[in-house]
């Protein structure tokens, strides 16, 4: 029972970790929590669905198409809307991302309707293998592996590529980065594209478990935020760990205490963490200068 809950918690947690990663990447560069993240992922998943089911392309083509779409969407939103805000403060940036959220939600419900669809996936959710007393489906294993692989790639990206290092520089000090010849505006766009693609992976891994409709990402968005807050909004590693911890805690709560109120755990964690350690478990405390 316990092992089972932990294993499936890790599998869900890896999805939360992906969403949290996507948010933290944007938060570190633009200093705005992206409330449109969930809807960006949802609409990319719908694009994959359309290519796959309506037009009948193969999995590889559809997924690559969806990634290209996701990247283009991220760049588009950053370039067309976020960059236009004059003298932005936090409230107006948050409002702009909420605006994205509503536009994308409306577009998706207009185009694909509210009825629930089954998202086909090359890995089955029903074939299982046994690990000790726990049962784990191939899809869960795939989710775990894909997430870990993606995190490893991100690590390599931020450590060894020029773009990744420029991104880190922009996050630390945009002005200094610009003085050193980094095109911070372009880095911003790339950040949004990267984040949107990570979100799309999460959406496509989530869709086969849940059913695909415009509300797909509403709750996972909150879970992603909870994971990011838990681990710390300013560290990538922390956010990823936060996702796994949240997934396990949530599943244990659902298994031992109350299945009905499982989805409130995320909110409780947000409030508790923010009350006792607002910077998150794995981030340094940050104090605002007067």
């Amino acid at each position: 029972m316990f092992l089972q809950l932990v294993v499936s918690g890790l599998s869900f947690g890896s999805l939360y970790a992906l969403i949290a990663l996507a948010m933290v990447i944007i938060y570190k560069t633009s200093e705005v929590p992206n409330f449109g993240q969930g809807e960006m992922a949802m609409i990319s998943t719908f694009v994959a669905f359309t290519l796959l089911v309506t037009h009948g392309y193969s999995f590889a083509v559809s997924f690559i198409g969806a990634f290209i779409f996701a990247a283009a969407l991220g760049v588009f939103l950053e370039f067309v809307f976020l960059r236009r805000a004059k003298d932005p403060n936090i409230l107006s940036l948050i409002l702009i991302t909420l605006g994205f959220q509503m536009v994308l939600y409306g577009l998706a419900s207009w185009k694909w309707g509210a009825d629930q669809k089954d998202f086909p996936f090359p890995v089955s959710d029903f074939d299982v293998i046994n690990i000790g007393s726990a049962v784990i489906s191939y899809l869960n294993i795939a989710t775990l592996l894909i997430t870990l692989f993606l995190m490893f790639m991100l690590f390599l990206f931020f450590r060894y590529t020029k773009v990744g290092i420029a991104m880190k520089a922009t996050q630390q000090n945009a002005m200094a980065a610009r003085i050193n010849g980094i095109r911070t505006n372009r880095i911003m766009s790339i950040t949004w594209a990267l984040s949107s693609m990570i979100g799309a992976v999460a959406g496509m891994l989530l869709a086969p478990i849940a059913t695909l409709d415009p509300n797909l990402m509403l709750e996972p968005l909150l879970k992603g935020f909870a994971a990011a807050v838990l681990g710390g909004m300013t560290t990538l590693v922390g956010a990823a760990l936060g996702g796994y911890i949240l997934g396990v805690i949530e599943n244990l709560f659902g298994g031992y205490i109350s299945l009905e109120f499982k989805s409130i755990v995320a909110f409780l964690i947000i409030v508790l963490v923010l009350c006792f350690k607002p910077s998150g478990l794995f981030a340094k405390h940050y104090v605002r200068k007067v």
Binding site: Y27, E31, V32, P33, F35, F81, R84, A85, K86, I90, L91, S92, I94, L95, I96, L98, G99, F100, Q101, M102, V103, L104, Y105, G106, L107, S109, W110, K111, W112, G113, A114, L218, E219, L222, F225, A226, V229, M233, E260, F261, S263, I264, A266, F267, L268, I270, V271, L274, C275, P278, R288, V290
Partner: protein, 349 residues
Amino acid sequence: MDMKRDYYEDIQLLNSKILWFWFIMLIASLATLPFLLPNYHIYMVNYMAINVIVTVGLNILVGYTGQISLGHAGFFAIGAYGTVLLMTNLHFPFLLALVCSALIAAFFGFILGLPALRLEGPYLAIATLGFGMAITQVIGRWQVFGGRMGLEAPDLSLGPFVIDTDRQLYFVIVTIAFLLILAARNMMKTRVGRAFIAIRDSDIAAETMGVNLTLYKTLAFAVSAFYAGVAGGLMAFLLGFINPSSFNFILSIYFLAFVIVGGLGSIFGSIMGAVVMTWLLLTLDKVQELPYLGAVLVSFSERWMNLAGLPNIASIIFGLIIILLVVFEPLGLYGFWIRTKIYWKTWPF
């Protein structure tokens, strides 16, 4: 002309005879309005008045105190469910139930205000977002609240009067809205209102000047939640039926959109924002019935989109309005109004 010579002139409700005249005209026209309008429009005006209450309350929090809330649908739901449950289970009279459930909402607002003491900007937005979603979840799962099926509003009577049409409900809703707007307007002129504004401009500076941050931040949340609670209680009777899905996250964003469109930190702006946006919302709900535009949209949806999803166009338009206003006119309709007024005051210069 606008010079104030002492404090009592500043806090006066209306400072000239002309304003008194218009004030009385306003009351008179509000009182005669329901006898002139057809039924559907009265429903619409009721809807607007309820949204005005929420928007004024939310503006006290967002516009005047500078705290963000993405969870106002939660307070709205508490007000609605509280009023209905108190009336059906405990047989409270309507007004008492309304005030009690608004106080419950205010209590939740106070609790949500506590973490707000340590949070700012993005973190507060996330916490309030979580609160709104949690409330909807709890209501949807708990049998006391009717679960997913929702609850039906009981019969409404106020003393000897039985209220069962929109026209009768109009007097209840608009009177309450009117009183709450006056209260908000007066509160902003007092010590409390000035403390809110000081916190918005700089909380650290306000604290050094002796404003008690704990008290006033939680108070702002509580007052704002109280307004949302009252509005929720009234909404239960306007709709006649409430279920958890009517209080989702999107509703919270709608409320925020009303505030932004009206203009942050202006009560008059909130009224304009809520009225205009509610009209837009109710019109867009039936977008296919609009002349010309409706037919174009229907054929466009049939060709490219999905006809069943056409009402979701409201969400697209709201989102675009939020983004465009934030980018181009952060003061909202109120800023537009002020500029027009100044233009005509100083015309032709």
